[in-house]
Amino acid sequence: MSLKHHHILYWIISGCFFLLTALLIFNYIDIKPPKNSLEPLDVTTSIKVTPGRYYQTSGLYHLDMTGTSHIRLPLKNIPDNMASYSLLIIDQFASNQAVNLYLTAELQNRQDSDVVPFKQKLINHQQSINELNDEWQSAVTISEVALVIESEIALGFGNEFDSQVSWQSIQFSNNDQISQTAKIFSELLAFVPLGFSSINIHNGEAMATYKSVLIWLGSLLLIAFIIYLVLKPPAIHLLASIALAWLVTGLIYGHNFAQQITFNQQRYAGHTQYLNRIDQGLGDMAKRIDETLAAQSNNPANTKILIMGGENFNNKRLKYHLLQYNVGIIGRYEDMLKIIEQPNVYAVLLTPFNDMCQPENQTAAPVAPNIVLKTTQFCILQ
């Protein structure tokens, strides 16, 4: 072949490697011996639920989460060969992406070893195909199997659409009963929402398929580079290979980005100031505190507010909403008692510390601060 046709050869060879590496890395060519074929275990209706929370309409099962952010659904019957199942599949899973789903259990690695807890996060996608990890698959006994559903408070506002989670079926299954492609896509197209930790990390969980994709594309680029060195086609062909590889990762990212757009617009529209429902409550609390102190005709800048407790989300946000005051979070009750007698010093106690505002609890204290305001959520002392 003449020199000017080297780029055709370059693409033919790279194309072959493209397919071959894909088949190898994504386990299409399975080198492990196949496990004994098992009938899938359908658990859609064999989970324990509080009566009235679980019902079926038009082919879908719905779980009502009204008034709770955490539901545990234990399996009624757990067969002995649980560890032989390698997949958990939730079909037609719909959650508006605002819940976290886990599979939990208790495992024994050897007959006489200690029981260890098991927890695996499940993929948040319409067809959630979860490869159960090695811990599960190598266990000798598996007990206390349960699905755990938690709504994700970090993701803004719990709205009415959070109160319901639906699926068509939940079943334990095996690799040979599900197409490898469906498995890969289930993981790659799973939703990665924007949350507090997104600033540190793009995707902290379910990394197996991402890893395969990156190893696949990385090794392809290395192969393409070697072919390029051997055949010496114009450099633009090498660049095109790089761009194509980037396009693959870009499509995965773009899909998630589009999902984020829909999600963020639903979740946050009209709530620009507050981070989530808890924060909205804290904002209202700050307003209440502000009004109470204003009624005592205090100048905010000269008023010291001590928020009792640790540096947690609630205290930090309340502090943020009260920055017009000289405000701080204080961990020690004694420190508060030391300066509460001074004029223009107030202490804010959130639950559970607001119990200390009970008159009977105060008798132990050397000084008895004056209760300015007391609600079920917080109290203000002076």
Binding site: I201, H202, N203, L214, I236, W246, Y253, F257, H271
Partner: protein, 467 residues
């Protein structure tokens, strides 16, 4: 949304005027050549110099007292003077930029940047200020200044409980830079987030434009520059820092790359005006974050090592450094008890008069590093380019400015890895709270080096043979 856009552009306009105006004023005062640039470079550097001047100015104004109105008045006065200087130079003087005809390629580039930015706005506009450090540290401090005055003193908890002056701020030892950039926004918007989003997008957009301009200067074809745009706007963790604006890391990353681009420009045209700009950008690093000091030192070392010494002298310096290190290690370091406290620089710990303390201990963070660089999908495919970049650095001839940028990058990467492997910072690698953000600070610089390499490969088909 329109109001937000207007406020954002107004705010950006303020910084650009501040930057361009001060630059003109200083150069005229010093009698230096104004070194005209093309319009996009003028505006971009105007913005970045403006941010620096603003931070410097407010750092000084903090010293004169606690009057927000006075601070605003001085700011407005300086802004108006800058505007006057610019208008005077444009109308009566000889202009402020090289007026070249608008190139079609530039229009395409800017359009793509605008579209990418609008997509990010579409995604993030309704999202509240979720970025944790922003509301706990940077914005919180700006809000304290807004309510209590720019000159207010910050104290730690014990002092705060005992005295009646000063506000409690646990992060008072962090540099003020980013909070000073946020501070004027609070006079217009209580939530700040939408303006912040706009500002970060404009800053990032101008940086990307500067990268494109620089690549154009070394004759990178349009398709390669388009690919750069795609990479800059689809690298997941970088986009996350735009979607949740308000962290200092991205801004630090911008200034690191600006210094690098400045040095490359200076190598082409060694004009004093450019030297001043580079010094300004370098000074901005420690004004933004504490680790800015590290990058500043690494930059100064890389620059002086390459620019001031020939190969023989460099080898001599390296040999001396190695000998010093080995001796220091064998002797067990330096321990001095001074009246100000202990000064210890030993292989076990560093203690600077009890003011700064660092202990050394090896932790294996390889998994965390690999997860961060690859498997968490933070940087997509980018880090696969590193071995090729090293090959390119070693096997090709580069001018001195390029050598400085290469040395800086390699040293900075080594510093990051040393920090996470040998110090208690390892815990921030293992809990994923800092490692990726530190890598982010080098990312635009790394991407730029990768694209310089791609440009070289495309231009020299023979280069493959050399490798």
């Amino acid at each position: 949304m329109i109001m937000t856009a207007l406020l954002t552009f107004g705010y950006i306009f303020y910084f650009i005027c501040l930057g361009v105006g001060t630059r003109l004023a200083i150069l005229k005062l010093m009698g230096l050549d104004t070194n005209k640039r093309r319009l996009s470079n003028l505006l971009a550097h105007g913005l970045f110099v403006g941010l620096f001047v603003h931070v410097l100015l407010l750092n000084v104004l903090q010293l004169i007292g606690n009057h927000n109105v006075l601070v605003l008045a001085v700011m407005i006065l300086i802004f108006l003077s800058c505007l006057t200087i610019i208008l005077y130079t444009v109308i009566l003087g000889d202009g402020i930029h090289n007026s070249t005809h608008t190139s079609q390629q530039q229009v395409i580039t800017i359009t793509v940047i605008v579209i990418a930015s609008l997509l990010i706005v579409w995604n993030s506009f309704h999202v509240p200020n979720l970025a944790w450090d922003t509301w706990t540290v940077w914005l919180a401090r700006a809000k304290q200044w807004y309510h209590h005055g720019l000159g207010v003193t910050f104290v730690q908890p014990q002092t705060w409980l005992e005295s009646n002056t000063g506000l409690l701020n646990l992060s008072s030892h962090y540099p003020d830079g980013l909070s000073l950039i946020f501070y004027p926004m609070l006079f217009f918007s209580d939530t700040v987030k939408p303006i912040l989003l706009g500002m970060y997008l404009v800053i990032y957009g101008f940086l990307v434009l500067l990268m494109c301009n620089r690549l154009e200067k070394i004759n990178a074809p349009l398709y390669l520059r388009m690919f750069l745009l795609v990479v800059m706007y689809t690298t997941p963790l970088m986009v996350n820092h735009l979607l949740l604006p308000g962290y200092a890391d991205l801004i630090l990353a911008v200034y690191i790359l600006l210094i690098m681009l400045g040095l490359l420009d200076y190598n082409d045209q060694p004009k004093p005006a450019l030297r001043l700009v580079i010094i300004g950008y370098a000074l901005m690093l420690p004004l933004l974050k504490i680790e800015g000091w590290v990058w500043l030192i690494v930059f100064m070392f890389s620059h002086s090592f390459i620019m001031w010494f020939n190969v023989k002298q460099r080898l001599l310096i390296l040999a001396l450094m190695v000998i010093t290190f080995v001796l220091w290690y064998l002797v067990g370091g330096l321990t001095l008890i001074t009246p100000f406290g202990p000064l210890v620089i030993s292989p076990i710990e560093i203690n600077l008069f009890n003011k700064a303390y660092l202990s050394f201990a090896f932790s294996n963070v390889t998994d965390a590093v690999l997860n961060g660089l690859f498997w968490q999908y933070n940087w997509s495919l980018l880090w696969f380019g590193l071995p090729f970049l090293w090959l390119y650095m070693i096997h090709q001839k580069h001018n001195k400015a390029q050598q400085v940028s290469h040395l800086f990058f390699v040293l900075a990467l080594a510093v990051i890895l040393t920090l996470f492997y040998l110090t208690p910072a390892a815990k921030y690698a293992q809990d994923n709270t800092a490692i990726n953000r530190i890598f982010l600070q080098l990312m635009p610089c790394y991407i730029f080096l990768l694209f310089s390499m791609l440009t070289a490969i495309i231009q020299q088909p023979a280069s493959a043979k050399n490798l």
